[in-house]
Symmetry: D2
Subunit: 367 residues, 4 copies
């Protein structure tokens, strides 16, 4: 798209046209280098696209990984972000579920709805979608975003919704629920350990309670986050920097170990901790984004009848979780600790990068 | 029990008594040291016991592990063996499912039927049973064996059964089926890789076909076993000593990988091969007995939505498999390559230890 | 057994012997005819038996069915009752999980633990057990009861337990949970209708919340019970004697119908109501004890992808539910409205038979 | 579309244009009244449509129901038929999976892929699709058909496919498999009864064997169809017009009844037969299209732990079944007994209507 100032001299109109094709976005320029800058506003490329004006967005731990240079698919010039709620600005002619001015929740997963993986509800591995927002295509930390396959990648927002709470449904709540709770097969009466009390661990803690486990043990190194865990429903907290976690877990479980151990950190030590505390017949559900291999102790686990799962979120549970947030069974808002205007996003990143000192969980950016 | 020859001079009666309390058994005397020797015949210790006269037994790969000294729970003096069919000699007063002279199949797993794990059908982790035969109590490579919890650890044998075929049901067929096929969630249309074409891999190959996968890829280093695999129903065979397995699998599967990869060897290289060839959404089912940790490549698997399972067999599928062997849907006998008399067991071990040269799969020992 | 006073003149000893062999029990003598009377105290018949002294018991709706003559397997002379907690008086020599003086919860289902059905956890259809207490053998509305297969039909009671609350675990809570909630596949976000707000419907309402459905609609003719439902967690109540239930349900569900409809009454009208309000893809779980056939409207249901289940409780969930009652996640005691001494049982029946007027749910009888 | 003869006088071109907008179709004109007649050729209405030239089609039992006037949604002027393979003539601009000249399998179920039901893979209840072909929109018994939502309602046909065999995949094989085999939860070792040996019952018999049941009992009144059943893999056949079916089933199953009973007729008597022969814990899977209610004997089934399912096919299994037909594990072609040219369709209906006399199963119509 080339901008041609056909009406120079008419200040107001000129400004209006500029606004319509230039926007602000948080752009990645290589490891450690990001900027809130002007960028061309996205337009419809395919008949299944929608253009969404961002109302609220947030920052994910994955964005920090990208900024460390850990995600090679993200290249210079990419707008970051894969979470948010917004308002439809324009839809392609094959979009039938949404129209201009609809308020929508953006899923972190883009799903075509017609490939073999989408037909199995494994949207995370959509052959032409999956996690692409803020990764291989421009994302949501911007004034506008183009959403491919809008009909199957956006969710309608009820009229009376608390849209701030719904931002937690773009990624963090379905990820905790699907990769942690469902994969971990949490059920009434279970004893569950969640390793990591960051935002994703806490999202898992919240959604695990939908299945009424008997005990939820929260394990972290940060006393503040462990204290928060208690207010979120943890029955036990263990500080792994000051306690022998395995001993403590075995004491709590009568030497059996836990029915489910959920890894929500992404480093070898925490995954191996899960291996150490799992009971025979138990499930280890990995949520963490790992950059290195881990050691799997098959010499002790081979006969223990355990199940280990990995997974990117499919967001197939989003409509159900949205229903629960709406009915206030799921206190999604508890995860939000800080608020910024969208154009304060550089400052918001600073806060999020110093989460421990700032006692930050999720930040909300409002346009 | 002390034997006192109270009737010396009466040859026949003397002989009879001796026979009733002394038997022959294959006894472990430390790493590399086993012997076919006289041993006291077992008697009823608990009201739930049965004494079974062995009719047919076999040797398991696990017995070879024990003889290498790899299984520390097996101590000097232990009779080896956890497979076999026999005839009931005597039952304790709390045994109600069986009586003297019944022909029975011995399960490699002893199950009390009343502990928390047995109530979940996880008999492998019975709190006072599990795999104890030829491990922590005397086993089946003997003329007689004591079976604890007989009602829930033995299976009745139909009158017209081929008892030789049924020996394959003590361990190898339920292990392949439960730990490989069921844990691997094999279903019609799947592409399955089985790594290892030894007896347990072949038992998995046989039982996998109960769920009609579209393709079964058999991977091994031994061309003879690969050839056998073809006659057992493999659609593709890959010799891992001469071919690049990952490349070949990717070619066969259109670069997707397999829906299920079943590890039936027990070493790090074969487990890591399973990690390399699994498709997104796939299952890795471990059957192998591992002595060392393996490397789990979470840096590439964390987002692939895969499931890894481990497990000792519960033998909960034994009655169903027995029905299928009886109706000849499951060609259990194909697994048997060699026959010996029970008192030739030292020779049988030699054959089994040189399985590749001898082209041996399972050996049958008949009393 | 005939009592012979061999030691007349020794008052104390005479009295002691009498006490040991005569007890009081609520005995059925045909339709409408029951009596609290002297009866011989039960003794051990099989090595797997236990004799339990009743501490607390209750009356079930099924007992009223029996007294109407609707259950032909119950014959003249039978002691009624299949619920209760007690203390072990004596065990047979094959009982290993329990010993004299242990406090135990009695399951309404007797399970041998070794037949084909028990091996599938379908204890309700145990080949020599199932629901036999107070049916084909003497039951728990007595000072003592003989429990066959004690190891697999009794549950240990924790030291600090509220034993009154645990009486709800003999039948009513596992029945509501297994036949209603599990068979109805209740899951987070579901809309559930429970038809019948009597004790079993309310037990279903309590246990359904372990899976966090979004809405629970309670349907009954009795306003008192509907009001109680609200305090138990119902989100909507519908009085079927004054409202058009189908219309109301369709209005609440946006004309879709409910995801699960649970029948907890046992008459044709309530089952057909479930058929009328079920959504495509939904589940109808029957709990009610039916005496007559019902009309299944396959002409409208054949293409609606629904699932209908029936079932007697297996009590396989009892240990999990007990854990939840102990941790006070399951407010079992809310179901108890009236208390009596065991020897006031005739009066307790009167109260229970006039449940609507008496606003009675469950009555507790304490020895 | 209005036809304007802009080039009168140019005979060839004129004829060509006529051909392109007029076609032949089998049109319903009310109960008992159908005709093979000229009709306007369909065109693209929505960007997700495809126009398919029919290569092969068939007639379904449902078409006969329609012609009796039993399906009120089918109105005068409707082209019948919901099965077939064809070649793409034209696609709308939002269709991405297919292009002109692709050979395709037409699913009897039209699925938008984006509504709540499609997102649950319950395509049969697609909010704007489902079974609409030959019902609420024109169907496949014509030279051309318009397929809405082509991307999610058509399947690509491999180059080397036997297209005649694939016609069996439009409806009959996925219906037998999903509504009968999957809903009936057929598994290795099961004893299964299929009531009705017509095309749909036989399709169920073929696909049931993908799960290796131990016995399959085929029940019908027609000896020819029972004989065919034997060649398709039935282990037992029972003629319900000459034998007491319940007695015979109980004899075969040792008085237990069958694990799964599949209703493939659609009348009260056959459904009630399923109720009579089902074992405790068993499943009754309804496939039949019912026009009347049936009697559900809850007075005997309430405590038998059975599951009853109904359902229209979702065709989610079509890709897997297609793979099995291609690899010749599923002998789809066995279902075809008669062949006609497409313009002999009136004669083909006569044959199909006299199926018993004609020994007809499925007829193939080739354009």
């Amino acid at each position: 798209m080339v901008f041609t100032p056909w009406c120079a001299g008419n200040g107001h109109q000129y400004y209006f046209i500029l606004k319509s094709i230039i926007m602000k976005a948080l752009v990645y320029h290589g490891p450690g280098d990001k900027n809130w800058e002007e960028k061309e506003k996205p337009g419809i490329l395919n008949p299944t696209d929608a253009i969404v004006k961002i109302l609220k967005t947030t920052i994910c731990g994955t964005d920090l990984h990208i900024l460390k240079g850990d995600v090679p698919t993200v290249t210079n010039g990419r707008t970051l972000g894969h979470e948010g709620v917004g308002i439809i600005e324009e839809v392609g002619n094959a979009v039938s579920n949404f129209k201009k001015d609809d308020h929508v929740l953006i899923s972190c997963i883009t799903a075509c709805g017609k490939c073999a993986n989408c037909r199995k509800q494994m949207y995370s591995h959509c052959e032409t979608g999956g996690w692409i927002l803020g990764n291989t295509i421009d994302g949501t930390q911007a004034e506008y975003v183009r959403i491919p396959y809008a009909d199957t990648s956006l969710y309608p927002i009820p009229a009376d919704a608390d849209e701030e709470a719904l931002v937690m449904l773009s990624d963090i709540l379905p990820t905790g629920f699907e990769c942690g709770v469902l994969n971990g097969q949490i059920k009434p009466g279970d004893t569950v350990a969640i390793v990591g009390a960051g935002p994703i661990g806490l999202a898992t803690l919240l959604t695990a309670q939908l299945f009424s486990p008997a005990e939820i043990l929260m394990i972290d190194q940060d006393d503040n986050r462990l204290n928060v865990s208690k207010t979120f429903g943890a029955t036990h907290t263990i500080n792994s920097s000051t306690e022998n976690v395995t001993e403590r877990v075995m004491k709590i479980t009568g030497s059996k170990g836990v029915d489910a151990a959920i890894e929500a950190v992404g480093i070898p030590a925490t995954f191996e901790l899960c291996e150490a505390i799992i009971a025979p017949g138990g499930r280890i559900a990995n949520i963490g984004v790992h950059g290195k291999p881990v050691t799997l102790h098959l010499e002790s686990l081979w006969d223990k009848n355990i199940t280990i799962t990995t997974g990117l979120v499919d967001t197939s549970s989003t409509p159900m979780l949205l229903k629960n947030v709406q009915s206030q069974k799921l206190a999604a808002k508890k995860l939000i600790t800080h608020h910024f205007k969208l154009d304060q996003i550089m400052e918001a990143y600073k806060t999020f990068e110093n989460a421990a000192n700032e006692k930050a969980l999720k930040v909300i950016l409002t346009s």
